[in-house]
């Protein structure tokens, strides 16, 4: 950087520091004297000020409405804090479950017990409905029961086989002529 540039930079630095109210009092007085006697310097200061003032036109977006709630909830969920103020206590379910498990233990136990009893009752009722009464067995075997006396006289299967052979022989024999 050339000597002139350095001088120019130093001059602008002083001028800007003066505008920003950051110059010591004695230096500020020097700058004011220069300004009073130098129209070009006054014009430069005027331009620097106007450019700076134009920054007031910049958009200044605010944080969205949920920002603080989201931030405090993030602290809560990440475990950084355990006690949020009341107005921010609506933390996600996962956070509630991890921080307050005992609140849910008893209801869960009762629910399981009731479920077990209901399932048992259902099983009992279904069993009762599908089971056949004893009388049905007698009906199924009625044909056998009606012939039970005859079957008892026959005795065993060999008798039946002999009886069948004899009937076959009689069938093959020619009928007697008259």
């Amino acid at each position: 950087m050339s000597h002139e540039n350095l001088q120019s930079q130093s001059f602008t630095e002083r001028l800007v520091a003066y505008l920003d109210g950051e110059l010591p009092e004695s230096d500020a007085r020097d700058v004011e004297q220069s300004l009073a006697s130098d129209p070009a310097m006054r014009a430069e200061v005027e331009q620097l000020n106007r450019a700076w003032d134009m920054l007031d036109l910049l958009e200044r977006p605010n944080a969205s409405g949920e920002f603080s709630h989201r931030t405090l909830t993030a602290l809560h969920v990440s475990g950084a804090t355990t006690a949020l103020p009341n107005e921010h206590s609506a933390a996600p379910t996962v956070a509630i479950e991890t921080t307050q498990p005992s609140r849910f233990k008893v209801p869960r136990l009762v629910a399981w017990s009731v479920g077990l009893v209901v399932v048992s009752l259902l099983g009992f009722v279904v069993g009762r409905l599908t089971a056949r009464p004893d009388g049905d067995v007698w009906l199924d075997d009625l044909a056998l029961i009606e012939q039970l006396d005859v079957y008892r006289e026959i005795g065993d299967a060999q008798f039946l086989r002999d009886f069948q052979r004899e009937r076959d022989r009689d069938d093959r024999r020619p009928p007697p002529t008259r």
């Binding site: 630095e13 800007v16 700076w52 134009m54 036109l57 910049l58 958009e59 605010n62 103020p85």
Partner: protein, 203 residues
Amino acid sequence: MVNSDPALSQYLHDPDVQLMLRAKRGDDAAFSQLVESYQDRLVGVLYHLLGNQEAAEDLGQEVFLRIYRNRSKYEAKAKFSTWMFHIANNLASNWRRDGARRREAPLAGSDSGPLGARPQEQLLAEKSALMPARVLDRNESQKLVQAALESLNERQKMAVLLHKFEQMSYIDIAEAMDLSPQAVKSLLSRARENLRAYLEPYL
């Protein structure tokens, strides 16, 4: 970042320092109050620094998380806002360096901005359309000033935002940006000179 001079107990009179000290002692309501108080100021600065609202809010949230996690180490040796913007500046630098979200918001000073990617040709077209001979409406002026701000490098931009929006002194900006007050003086001088040069046709 923070001066270790014990005389700096002057900051104990800062009500926000008091809130932070309460948060340090476990008072979460005090911390909530700080979030409520500073969220708009923080997001407003980050918006111009990062280029979009979503990134500004994400990083703003991260700033508050960092502050909360480090609350036990907090000492009242600076204004709360200086400490907060120091963390914000570091996180924004990391964010830019990592480039993890660069595809969402390009950050090169000359080609990015809150309105999305702004290639140089687009800016030139806008500038040529905004002829100094005619009166600019507010929307056009706003775009022009936005483009002027984006023409600054990141450090100049941060210094300008802290000085203009937060009315921070050179010393406070120096603490927030890990610079000497003389470096801040040079930074702001160059920044104002650049802004003047960019906006000169419209002044």
